[in-house]
């Protein structure tokens, strides 16, 4: 799975959680909550969607890994790949 594909899956989730946000120019290294109107409840929703859509569990202690888009990709990509490998 490429970084771009992972990034797209994450942006899909954010789009559903915050439909009014413009996601066309999200800067990977800037904290998501500094460029989008996201609060801690939104991050909870991201965690719930990852579980529901992709069966990926993010323990509470690791929520901060999701603070930037680049961080999300780095942290989640191995998890996505492990899921894909398990399915294959």
């Amino acid at each position: 799975m490429t970084e771009n594909e992972v990034s797209k899956l994450i942006l899909d989730i954010i789009h559903d959680i915050a439909p009014d946000e413009d996601l066309s120019d999200v800067k990977p290294e800037v904290r998501l909550r500094d460029q989008l109107d996201l609060d801690s409840m939104d991050f909870l929703d991201i965690v719930m969607e990852l579980r529901k859509r992709h069966q990926i569990e993010v323990p509470e202690a690791e929520y901060m890994e999701l603070s930037t888009l680049a961080g999300c990709v780095k942290y989640l990509r191995p998890k996505f790949e492990a899921k894909a490998a398990a399915r294959a």
Binding site: I17, D39, M41, L44, D45, V47, M48, E49, R51, K52, R53, H54, Q55, E57
Partner: protein, 501 residues
């Protein structure tokens, strides 16, 4: 003749007699034998959990012991077209986003700001839009506090979070920024005390968190009234496949093999993979489950949880055709010399908040209503004789009208319906320990959060810890706990494969 309008429902004792006949197995007709989740109680936390998880494909049964759904987010109707809201005085702006995300756009779009909030007490009389800018204006111009000091206080309150020092009290926080300025303390504290029952001796972090939520962008209300809100929520629950039942009293939470596995409701057993209680946290642990299922240290902790105050309310319905001039929607009044948490809840009442409901609150109607709210202690009311009880209710009604006459001299003649709800009334309708209106003190949050660690499969969501209280706090806490329940349901050993989006 009594000042109170003749109505059986003013005395919960009439309703208490009728109850056993209403809580029947018939209410549960058509329920399944087993659900993913049973939610006990339909307060805003219970409703929000049920909707969130129902929408995500879990099978959910919601059980409410009362006729109406909504818990303390409720209303009642009386003869001649009177309608009264119980807890629609106002909530923070964050409710818009919460409703948009976890309910519907229509619900979120009906949330509108209050225009004017007033104070009148021996220390000051003023009017505000209740946001940071306006508070800064008042504090610097009227109270002559330096702008740096005001900004310092706001920034400090905003920066406070859960992990900060819990020893610092709100009194010490005020003393640090506004030494001995009890007028400033009053402005900053009185509305919060009415919003969540907290006192100057509660941890400053609870104040900081609530304050920065509540006072930064004004106070909001729901256009259409509480009845429309709950009706819309019920429709959404149906849409999302949640099975909702009223007059359904949960008597027991069933435990097997160290896990919560269902409930007994109206004498009938229903199984579930998880149970979430929106009932009072103490009732949940000590009554619905029972101490024997928990570690003794946890039971001791639960028993030590203190409750916030209860409420008394006086409802005044104006005769059809009568009107009120606009004098603001929320009016904090007091004759007590300073802000004093003890005096605020004393039976000898000196402080009350009036909510004025103009026709705009329910577009299409032409009616006016006034609700006076008073913070009260359940213990002061619980053991009164019937005669004393009636006498105190009459006195509260009379005082609420008389005190209002200072601002609206002709109001008495316009009032047609007069009714009083007391801590006893709230106890009857919500079954909360000590009839608390605003849940538990700070320590209750930890006990609530630890519940699933103590008894897997059992969760609690509802007003706890001061910060998770009020409409927004309860709904948001529901969302937070829904995430835990979802994790449990999807990870539990007997998890059935869930549909993926």
């Amino acid at each position: 003749m009594s000042i109170l309008s003749p109505t059986a429902a003013t005395a919960p004792s009439e309703l208490i007699k009728k109850r056993p006949k209403l809580l029947t197995a018939e209410r549960l007709k058509g329920t399944k034998d087993r659900y993913d989740l049973i939610v006990i109680g339909s307060g805003l936390a219970g409703l929000t959990v049920a909707n969130r998880l129902g929408r995500d494909g879990h099978s959910v049964l919601l059980l409410e012991q009362h006729y109406n759904f909504g818990g303390m987010a409720t209303w009642f109707k009386r003869q001649n077209g009177h309608i009264f809201d119980i807890s629609l005085h106002g909530f923070p702006v964050g409710m818009i986003k919460t409703c948009r995300k976890y309910w519907t756009k229509e619900i979120a779009d009906s949330i509108v700001p209050l225009k004017s909030i007033r104070f009148d007490n021996p220390q000051f009389s003023l009017q505000t839009t209740f946001d940071r800018e306006d508070f800064t204006r008042i504090l610097t111009q009227k109270f002559e506090i330096s702008p740096e000091n005001v900004a310092g206080f706001f920034d400090f309150a905003r920066s406070m979070n859960f992990y900060d020092d819990q020893k610092l009290t709100t009194r010490e926080l005020f003393q640090r920024f506004f030494p001995d300025r009890t007028d400033v303390w009053r402005l900053l504290m009185e509305p919060i005390a009415y919003a969540n029952g907290s006192t100057l001796d509660d941890p400053a972090i609870t104040y900081g968190i609530v304050f920065s939520n509540f006072m930064s962008k004004g106070v909001y209300t729901f256009q259409g009234g509480t009845d429309l809100l709950i009706k819309s929520m019920k429709a959404e629950l149906h849409k999302n496949g949640v099975d909702v039942r009223n007059y359904a009293q949960v008597e027991q939470i069933l435990v097997e093999g160290g896990r919560a596995v269902g409930v007994v409701v109206n004498g009938q057993r229903i199984s579930a993979r998880a149970v979430l209680s929106n009932a009072n946290v103490k009732n949940t642990i000590l009554d619905l489950v029972g101490e024997e299922h928990f570690a003794p240290e946890y039971v001791a902790e639960a028993k030590g949880v203190r409750m916030n105050s209860s409420s008394t309310q006086v409802y005044l319905g104006l005769r059809r055709g009568e009107t009120l001039p606009f004098i603001g929607e929320l009016f904090f009044t007091s004759t007590h010399p300073t802000f004093d948490s003890e005096a605020l809840t004393a039976l000898e009442c000196t402080s009350r908040t009036y909510s004025f409901y103009y026709p705009e609150i329910r577009p299409g109607t032409d009616r006016y209503a006034i609700v006076a709210s008073i913070n009260s202690n359940y213990r002061d009311w619980a053991d009164m004789s019937d005669e004393d009880y009636l006498r105190w209710k009459e006195r509260y009604a009379e005082d609420a009208i008389r005190s209002l006459e200072r601002y609206l001299p002709d109001v008495r003649a316009k009032v047609e319906h007069v009714e009083v709800a007391t801590p006893r009334t709230f106890k009857f309708f919500t079954q909360h320990a000590l009839a608390t209106s605003f849940g538990t003190k700070f320590e209750g949050l930890k006990v609530s959060q630890d519940l699933p660690k103590q008894l897997p499969g059992l969760f609690h969501a509802g007003s706890v810890g001061i910060i998770m209280s009020g409409w927004l706090g309860a709904a948001n806490y529901g969302v937070i706990v829904a995430n835990e329940v979802d994790r449990y349901l999807r990870g539990a050993p007997d998890a059935v494969a869930k549909e993926t989006a």
